[in-house]
Symmetry: D3
Subunit: 136 residues, 6 copies
């Protein structure tokens, strides 16, 4: 392609996007999000950049849907996808951070059985069990 390559992630404009995303990530996911970013540092810092700059800075921070509502959609997706236990762990914590109660989270996962079947609902509920045990 005879066109401009993507800006490197250390470009000042990208660093600004990243910095903004980190603030959003911290506000929603707290420590758990930062740990994911840290664990990518030596293998794919650019994946961390895009999770933060795009996923959080560009999308989560959009005003059209409240963070609490975004977490409900996210819990539904992660439960349905399957195999996303590490991400469910982060996002069940995030759901608590943005104002969902333990009871609402458990109810959302029970609700998911209607659409995804019991195995996905069970796997997600056992992740919640683990998260709540760490919190209490």
């Amino acid at each position: 392609m005879n066109i401009q390559p993507a800006k490197p992630t250390n470009d000042p404009s990208e660093q600004e996007r990243y910095k903004h995303g980190l603030e959003v990530l911290g506000a929603i996911d707290g420590d758990a999000g930062q740990k994911v970013v840290d664990s990518l540092a030596d293998i794919s810092p650019d994946l961390a950049h895009h999770v933060v700059a795009w996923g959080f800075g560009d999308i989560y921070a959009r005003p059209g849907l409240a963070p609490r509502d975004r977490q409900l959609v996210t819990l539904g997706m992660l439960t349905a996808l399957g195999g996303c236990e590490p991400q469910l762990k982060v996002h069940i914590k995030a759901a608590l951070n943005v104002g969902l109660s333990q009871e609402q989270i458990i109810e959302a996962l029970l609700h998911s059985a209607v659409y995804c079947g019991f195995p996905r609902a069970l796997n997600a509920t056992f992740v919640a069990k683990e998260v709540f045990a760490e919190q209490d």
Copy 2:
């Protein structure tokens, strides 16, 4: 198994569960849900029974999560699963019924790209386009 078989769906107690579920279905999904039930009448009326009696009567009607919040979780799941365009159609209508705006639904589907990728988000958004066009 030397144990009691499931009650037939025409057992009075099952008919009562079904009747309750139909009220919930009507309140949430409106006509769209009833059409699904009708289209099952000659092929699997018992599947219709369980969608209605269990899915709506037993689960949707639980007080622990608002119908609006259940739809957010449901939109997330149906988008993530893929291949659920007919169900997305029903549940995007339901989402409007229970108080989500067109803008919030579109925003939820944009949000889904972060977790499911663009193809799933695009397919769901085109279903919303179809639903909104029919409504307007």
Copy 3:
């Protein structure tokens, strides 16, 4: 919604449904099913209720398909879904309980490679290896 909420799971009619489901669960899954129910007791007893009362009492106990045949369908689904290793473990035991041989289970999982590909078939086969080792 101005309609009746779902009956609480401690309602006598729900307790009766649950009791019936537990008998079915015991006959099919044996101890393994009960352990899943127990592990939900402190996080989502209502999910356990619905797995038991609906999944087993209402569906598994229907006379239209033999328990052995239901397990074949179930092994196919759990293999195809992926990420359901804990449920596969329970249902491979259940398959043995209801009359499928170790050889038939292994053959069903080999067969699955044609439709799901080798990775899903391999993951399910390694779960069977674990289950059979515990049994012998």
Copy 4:
């Protein structure tokens, strides 16, 4: 790789494997399987070769599990995978061919709701509706 490439599909030994697979395909899927093979002729005859020679000749024809039981596993997988409506159509016909009744097939798909959720069960049931209508 300094190793022997795969035999071309027109090698006599491959033609023999293919011929055997075609007999198995015909016995199980009848016309429906042949139509899939025909529709691949001008785009990927080698995919058709491997569906027939391996999928049917090598796997379906194994004696360890009855054709009827293989179809139960297959219906479970195709329902769970989602987006496999064309293949479900072929295999619901095949299920009838190898001795499952319409009632057993519908029951298997109702059963699937417990593990895959209602959307997958509904989509598969509507395929069965279409197949049965063509048969009657």
Copy 5:
């Protein structure tokens, strides 16, 4: 959250990102990508923005992997996901644009059967058949 919302997509810096992304999209997907963008104009222009600005401008345009190699990964993903026939159509065209031959694409889809099973491989191959027919 007491933090800066995401910049609106009509912010000059976002418009610049979008413009760059459009060039990349045009170079890879040609007309097909533009049609997707156009079809989003009245339902979710912001989803189009992010497909273009992030998906193409930020990711596809990265120098670390050739466009041809990205299409091989993409064909694998879209085949495995299932239910992505519209996206496969766009990306099979894109694969031809960036230098893969019809034969290589068909071979990649045959290869996919080993990992995803035949149904996914067949569905993707029939999309290729449609695309190639339009091209010839």
Copy 6:
């Protein structure tokens, strides 16, 4: 079925196919593939036979697509499927064996986020981290 059963895997012609497949497996996957075969020896040697004879001998060894290109497709599929971490481990090693660099693999997994979302991309990247750590 009144037709010839599949040849047993110890038939000389099947043993020849297997031997050829083992050479291909060794050339592509090295030790990692052999370990999978070994771990199947006591539970499903016939699954091992078909992975080797068909997956590697018949498909990987086809001349129409370079081993390196097959690995790109495979990485895309395994990332998209989810729950295939053990297979990703084998195939990330294989990707290195057939000439992809660590940087290209990491870039392919970052690219996958556009189509599968971040959770799948993250899970695959953490498998790569593990594989690279073992190699260095």
